[in-house]
Amino acid sequence: MISKFRQVLNSGKFVVTSEIGPPKGTNIEKMLHHIDLLKDKVDALNVTDHQSSVMRFPSIGGCLAIKEQGGEPILQMTCRDRNRLALQAELLLAYTRGIRNVLCLTGDAIPVGDHKEAKGVFDLDSVQLLRAIRQMEAGKDLGGNELDGTIEFCAGAIVTPEARPIEPQLIKFEKKVEAGAEFFQTQAVYDLDNFAKFMQYARQFSVKILAGIVLLSSASMAKYMTENVPGIFVPKYLIDELASAPRGEALNKGKEIAGRMVATLKKESICDGVHIMAIRREEVVPDILAIAGL
């Protein structure tokens, strides 16, 4: 069984992925509801891995739930919490349970999360994790030992097209491509002209790029992200547009902006697809897709 998601990526279709944030605790009802709502509307669903270094139900647990409901999961794996033994073991488990896609990330720093006294691991980095996957696919673990049964994953990574300075990020992007990344989901992009310039550069590599779309729920949230989240810049005209929405209508305006961006990216064939992140408001993703005409 090969990755259904890889088939979609290679089909030439405009790819849509979205993201599920697991709960803090064992009450998985809401997560299951979000999976049920989105699994047939998108090509694959990421499950975040202790996003922002906040301890939660694990990514692999969410991915198994997606499999059980007949969806296509993308396992997010950060290097923050596991050493190379644990990362490889989880890849073995994921493979045996039918998970075929993995997104390799460094992981946020421990101090930004809710367990500030914990030890950050970072035994591997995202480039090394990608290479580890390709090495295991070739039949050997990172210790150079033969595997009794190998893995096969559609492996991806992330890139921040708006990082400043951009060149160090692009060098890392190229290292990820060389390490075997097949697809990239980007950090949120809002300035599509800037993003188109990044795509001109990225097109020279044979990888698929899915533009990161983060739902803006209010003008203050947009401002906060611009001021505080590395690599995210919301242009002033979008903040003004959100601010101009009538009282109680900011979220609808945010959905409209997100839908409009998705439609433009598709219509102008700027990139290969989108990755929609509606952090804690997963239920509005179908509205965004409807506005985008998808």
Partner: protein, 213 residues
């Protein structure tokens, strides 16, 4: 090279000394004196605080360099050390280790050992080497990513870097932005494209021991 220390909160020292009523204090004339954590002045301050607590300070000294072999002799010279039922050491952990080796009494550290660092300007110290056993400075423009990057990344910056600063602290420089700028200035940017494999931690088995010939 300096062993950078800070004084433990006095409450912690007090709690560790709870079962001892006669204390001998040992400071260090090298690193702990320069960091003002275990020099003569700090030792005398500690003496006063302990006396206020009702402890008998049986003796005190500041050993020139607590981590070398002279420590054994220096300890023997302290008047009143035999009357103490514990030794409070105001030196880095290397000094604590040496004192512990040479005296058969409970040894209590008064300092936390933070890192091996350099002094940038008076009173400001920073860590430049994590003593990882496998130096990469030749390929990283003399800036150690293992030490200077919060995550110790070997293959370039993470996505948390922002205008040259680190995601854990807006005041802290992103190590990989510094490395990038320096390599670029030196016309060696090709080195940033080089893949660094996972670090070999076997070169530094703990505890580390080496016989230098």
């Amino acid at each position: 090279m300096k062993s950078i220390t800070k004084q433990k909160p006095f409450d912690e020292v007090k709690q560790q000394l709870d079962r001892f009523d006669r204390v001998c204090i040992v400071g260090c004339g090298t690193c702990a004196t320069m960091t003002k954590t275990g020099g003569r002045e700090e030792v005398l301050n500690m003496k006063e605080h302990l006396q206020e607590l009702g402890k008998l300070v049986t003796g005190w000294t500041v050993i020139p360099t607590a981590c070398d072999e002279m420590t054994e002799g220096a300890l023997n010279l302290i008047q009143g050390i035999q009357n103490a039922n514990c030794i409070l050491v105001m030196a880095c952990a290397l000094g604590v280790h040496k004192v512990n080796l040479y005296i058969d009494k409970p040894v209590i550290p008064a300092l936390d050992t933070l890192f091996i660092g350099v002094e940038d300007s008076p009173g400001y110290f920073h860590e430049v080497c994590a003593q990882c056993g496998q130096c990469v400075l030749g390929e990283t423009a003399g800036i150690c990513p293992l030490t200077a990057c919060h995550k110790g990344l070997l293959n370039g910056p993470c996505g948390g870097t922002n205008n040259g600063k680190c995601e854990v602290d807006k005041e802290k420089d992103c190590a990989w932005t510094l490395i990038y700028q320096r390599l670029k200035e030196q016309g060696r940017l090709d080195l940033m494209h080089k893949y660094h494999p996972p670090k070999n931690y076997q070169v530094v088995p703990r505890p580390r021991v080496i016989k230098l010939v």
